[in-house]
Structures are given as structure tokens and as C-alpha cells.
Amino acid sequence: MGGDRIFTWLTAAMGLVVIAVLGAIAIELLVGSGPVWSRFGFGFLTSTQWDPVKGLYGALPYVAGTVTSSVLAMAIAVPVGIATAVFIAEFAPRRIAAPITIAVELVAAIPSVIIGLWGLLVLSQLLSQNVEAPIVNNFGWLPFVGSSATGSDLFTASLLLALMITPTIVALSREVVSSIPRMQHDGLLGLGGTRWEAVRMVVLPAARTGIFGACILALGRALGETIAVTMVIGNTGKVPTGLFDPAQTIASQIASNWSEASIGLETDSLVALGLVLAVLTVSTVVAARLIMHGRGPAVGAPA
């Protein structure tokens, strides 16, 4: 009885520590950025100027860069990730499924800075010469295609982010898909359905909640990724109008400027940027939870 109580209190304390840390971070972000909000108000979120000498700061280019690169990364990673997970769990013979699973986990384990270096050394040059230059030269009249094709831009950063978050989606989705009870799945096959129909009508709906959760985790990582992105995004504080324009994310801007920021409005503005990113991430998680809650857990899926 005594040991039980101690154990309960201990685990409760651990849980409370997590909440306390979260609270401390939130308070620090709010207090640290206070001067910025009182000085600029919500104009901070719509301004495109970042001029420490004139004392003008604005978050719009960085919010635009963060949101655009993350959404594009998700647009690539989600279909690829889910398809890979379904393939591994449903269709692949074990001899193929195992190496693919290991390969995916290895990619997830590569440190961000290495992926960033690879992005700079290999990917940006590859894309610049083989994808961006032909498109800009021949299809420059299309919207969202600008005139630059340097390889250090939104497109390369989005692809790199997609590479980094796909393993998260694959690993978690595979877990969810393979833990679905086989009863309905086998029943549908017994009734004459194809394997694709079984996946479409039984597996995916049942795994929906878990897959959605995996995607939200992946989006969270994409929003906050710093080192890999700063190598390939071009670090230019302008709202990107074309896919191949250089841009800047919140995380990369904070990382580039922190060591030089003068104490005062400049450091406070970087903290305010951090607050914006935190709010962005938290609101996507909250929105996702609300959507999942509305749909409710499907039969047999983990809650």
C-alpha cells in the first residue's frame, strides 16, 4: 500500500514537471516578447520589415516561409508516407518489408545537420540544374514560377523537409495499420473483395485517427526544423512569390540572428518570433485533436 502511494506520487510528480516546464516556456515567451506587442501590436504579424537600425520588426515573411515550406512538405510526405506504410503493412512480402522498414528508420535517425549538408552539397545543385532551370526557362510565364533558379529556395527546403518527416509518418502509420484487427479485413476478402478494396474500405478508415496523429507529429517537426532548412532555403526575408524564390523560416531567422541581436527590442522580436512559432505549432495540434475528437475513434483503432 505504501509503495503504491509513493509510486503514484512519483509518476504524478513527473507528469507535473512536464506541465511546469511547458508553463515556464510559455511564460518566458510571453514576458520576453511583451515589449514587441506593446510597441507594434498585431502589426508585428503583418509587417515585412526587419530593420534593427530603424527599430522596425515584422514577422510576415518568416511566417509565410514557415507555413509554405511545411504545407508543401506535408503535401509530398503524407501521400508518400501513408502509401509506404500501407505497402509495408499490407502488400509487401516479409523479405521486402523488413529492409524497407529498416531503411526508413535509418533515414529518421540521420541528424538534421547531415541532411542539411547533403541538401546543400547534392540536392540543391541537382534541383537547380535539372528541375528549376528548365522550368524557369520554358514555363516562366506560369504563376508561382519566378525568375530565379538557384537551388537555395522554398522548393529545395520543402523537399528536404518532406524527406525528413516521411519516416515519422511511415513508422507511426505502419504501427497503426498493422495493429488493426484482421476480422473485418479478412471478412471482406472472403466476400470477394480485392486487397485494394480491403485497404480502402476497412484498413484506412480504421487507422484514420492514428494516421492523422502521425501527420500532426510530422507537421510539428516540419514547422520547427532549423539546421537543415537554413542551409538550403536562401535566408532571404521576403515573402516568397514563386516556388523557386529564396525564403526564410521563423526557426532559421532566430538561429541566424540570435548571436548578433542586441539586447532590447531586437532580442525581444526574436522571442516574439518564437512565440508565433509556438502558437502556430500548438494551434495545429489543438485543431487536429478537435477534428479527431469529432470523428471519434473508429472500430478497433487505438484511441
Binding site: P52, V53, L121, M231, P246, S256, S259, E260
Partner: protein
């Protein structure tokens, strides 16, 4: 005394005098300070002096292999090095940068210590170019440099790059200009923006925020963190131009532009000789905070020259043994280490500056006691 005998005596005395005069500079006025055992000297700062600092570490450890000294230099940006020196307690043993600390930097020191500036070598910021259709060297006037980085010149076949018969091979180069700058805190950016402000007359001349280590308002171009990434990006992109220290441009095999000198009389390449010639024209204040040598007069002076600095504490924070080792390393670099400078893309200190630099080391104290008393 006969005439012949007096000639012989005179000649002997003259030879003896010449021998003394010739030998005197070789004999150092002081004995080199030795390192203490197993000390760790940590440094932080800009990329620009990085290559020579890292080279010196290896050579110093060979010279004093029994002392088991650990020497590090973390290249996290000139601004980070300054912040580490300002912090209370100090976050580093020394910092490195290609520029002296500004008055604002010195005013921001919170640990109550005096910071000594010790020049280590001379260096040059070059414009590295990758342009496969250009043959021979590329010459650039100051206005060309300003226009390339302001976006006024967007293509390498622009006529402004071929005035007075320069760069004839560029006429057929229909390649878009991509400028590459540093996105992080950088001493090279400080030197280059000072050049842009001082030497060009249109876009950059009136920018009150220049020179600066961190410039966020480049009108065109892409930013890369660290000089090594700038070098890599320029190397990979046809039509790219970036500013970086000579050794990075050399390692990446970039074309280095010849830039018009301060008098507008010649186009000068960055070599040890041209950087040294520029340095001769710089005034040396008593605190050794020599500003970047921009647009130095003289037909052979490279206009983007600067000293590579160590920032060290006059009041050593850690221990006398630690201070002794730091002094030993710096003294070695200022004497024996100078011979390696030009091969690496830097240049030796002028001897007058070297003497002043060595004198700075004599000011370092621990608990009020001078550490090195030669």
C-alpha cells in the same frame, strides 16, 4: 699606422659591425613562454580567421607535444565570439574575428574585464566567382561590385563590366548573376559592407546601418550560413559571386576577381604582397584596434584587406597556468607561426605590428600579477 694597415683595420671593424647588425634581429629580445601542462584553451568567433587558427593548432601541438595542450576554435560567427567575451562569467578563453570590437561591443562587456586586441595575421576578403564562360581573370571596379550586389547588374554580359576594354570574354556570357552573402553573424560581412559603403557611390553609399556583421536587407541574392557554405554554393552555381576569405575561395577553386584599388589606378589581385602593401598605409592606434583597410591608396594595395584578431582578457579569468599557455600559443603564432600565413591565403604581420602584438601579451595578468615577465 701605414695606409694599408688602417684599411685592413677599418675593413675588419666594418665587417664585424655588419655581422652584429645582421644577427641582431634573429636573436629575439625575449625567450618564448612555455605552456603549462594539460591546459585547454577554448575560442569562439568568425569563420574568416578559422583556417589559419586551425592550422596553427596542429603546428603548435607538434612544437610543444609534451605539454598536452588542447586548443579549440568554434566558428559560430563573429558576433557569437563577441557575446562570449562580453558575458559574465566569460563563456570563452579568447575570440576571433577579422575586425576589431566596436565601441558598442566594448561597452557591452558585463564581466568587468579589459579586452586586449592582438592581431594575428593579415587577410583579404575576395570576391569568389564561378563563371564557366569567362576566360582569364575578371576585373571589377568598385561600382561594378556595388551594382552586382544591389541588383543593378543582373547578367554577366552587362556592358558596365566591360568598360575600358576590360573582361572581353564576358560579352558572350549570357548568364544570370547570383550573389551569395552570409546569413549569419560575420566579420567578413562587416568588412565587405564597409567596402560597399565607402567605395561605391550609388546604392550603398548612404546606408546608415553599414558596416555591420549581420545584414538582413540584401536587395538580391541568397544567404548561406558560414563561409564554407558560401564557397560551396558559389562553386555549384554558374554565374554566382560571393565574398569570403581567400583561403575558402582557394579551397573551392573559385575565380578570384581583381578589384580596383582605392586610387582607381589599377586592378589588384589579393596576394600576400598586395595585402601587406595595403596594411602599410593603415594607421595603428595604441589599443591595436586597427579598422579594416578599405580602399588603401597605392598601385599595389588590395582594397579589401583586414587584420585577423584574437580578443583576449587582460585579466585572465581561469588560472596563471591557463594564462601562461594562452600566451605561449599566441606568442608562438606571432613568431614561428607567421611563416605559414601566405601559403594558407593570409599574410604575415608587419614587424611593427608584430612587436606591438607581443607587447599586448605582457599586459596579461592573473590576480593582479603579470603572467609573462620576459
Amino acid at each position: 699606422m701605414s695606409f694599408g694597415r688602417s684599411v685592413r683595420v677599418g675593413a675588419t671593424l666594418a665587417v664585424a659591425l655588419a655581422a652584429v647588425v645582421a644577427v641582431a634581429p634573429i636573436v629575439n629580445a625575449e625567450t618564448p613562454p612555455l605552456p603549462a601542462q594539460s591546459q585547454t584553451i577554448r575560442g569562439q568567433g568568425g569563420d574568416t580567421p578559422g583556417p589559419i587558427f586551425n592550422y596553427w593548432f596542429g603546428k603548435y601541438k607538434n612544437a610543444y607535444s609534451s605539454s598536452n595542450t588542447t586548443l579549440t576554435y568554434t566558428m559560430n560567427g563573429a558576433g557569437a565570439g563577441v557575446k562570449a567575451m562580453q558575458a559574465n562569467p566569460p563563456q570563452t578563453d579568447y575570440a576571433g574575428a577579422p575586425t576589431p570590437m566596436t565601441d558598442a561591443d566594448l561597452a557591452g562587456v558585463t564581466n568587468g574585464r579589459t579586452i586586449l586586441h592582438v592581431p594575428s595575421a593579415l587577410g583579404a576578403i575576395v570576391l569568389g566567382i564561378k563563371l564557366s564562360c569567362a576566360s582569364g581573370s575578371i576585373t571589377l571596379t568598385a561600382e561594378n561590385v556595388g551594382d552586382l550586389f544591389s541588383g543593378a547588374i543582373t547578367n554577366w554580359n552587362d556592358a558596365r563590366l566591360r568598360t575600358s576594354g576590360r573582361n572581353p570574354s564576358l560579352a558572350s556570357c549570357n548568364v544570370h548573376v547570383t550573389t551569395v552573402h552570409r546569413s549569419d553573424s560575420s566579420g567578413a560581412t562587416y568588412v565587405f559592407t564597409e567596402y560597399l559603403k565607402q567605395e561605391t557611390t550609388s546604392y550603398w553609399a548612404n546606408k546608415s546601418s553599414l558596416p555591420t556583421r549581420q545584414y538582413n536587407s540584401w536587395p538580391v541574392g541568397i544567404g548561406e550560413p558560414h563561409s564554407s557554405a558560401v564557397a560551396l554554393k558559389v562553386k555549384q552555381t554558374n554565374g554566382a559571386i560571393g565574398f569570403l576569405e581567400t583561403s575558402y575561395a582557394k579551397s573551392a577553386g573559385l575565380k578570384k576577381a581583381k578589384i580596383q584599388n582605392g586610387d582607381h589606378t589599377a586592378f589588384v589581385a589579393a596576394t600576400a604582397a598586395t595585402v601587406t602593401a595595403a596594411a602599410k598605409t593603415a594607421s595603428v592606434p595604441s589599443d591595436l584596434r586597427i579598422q579594416p583597410i578599405i580602399g588603401a591608396p597605392g598601385a599595389n594595395s588590395y582594397p579589401l584587406s583586414t587584420y585577423m584578431y584574437w580578443y583576449v582578457f587582460q585579466q585572465e579569468p581561469t588560472s596563471a597556468a591557463h594564462g601562461k599557455t594562452l600566451i605561449s600559443y599566441i606568442y608562438w603564432a606571432l613568431t614561428t607561426g607567421q611563416q605559414y600565413a601566405s601559403a594558407l591565403g593570409y599574410a604575415k604581420l608587419p614587424s611593427s605590428v608584430k612587436t606591438l602584438a607581443i607587447n599586448q601579451l605582457k599586459k596579461i595578468t592573473y590576480n593582479g600579477t603579470q603572467i609573462w615577465t620576459p
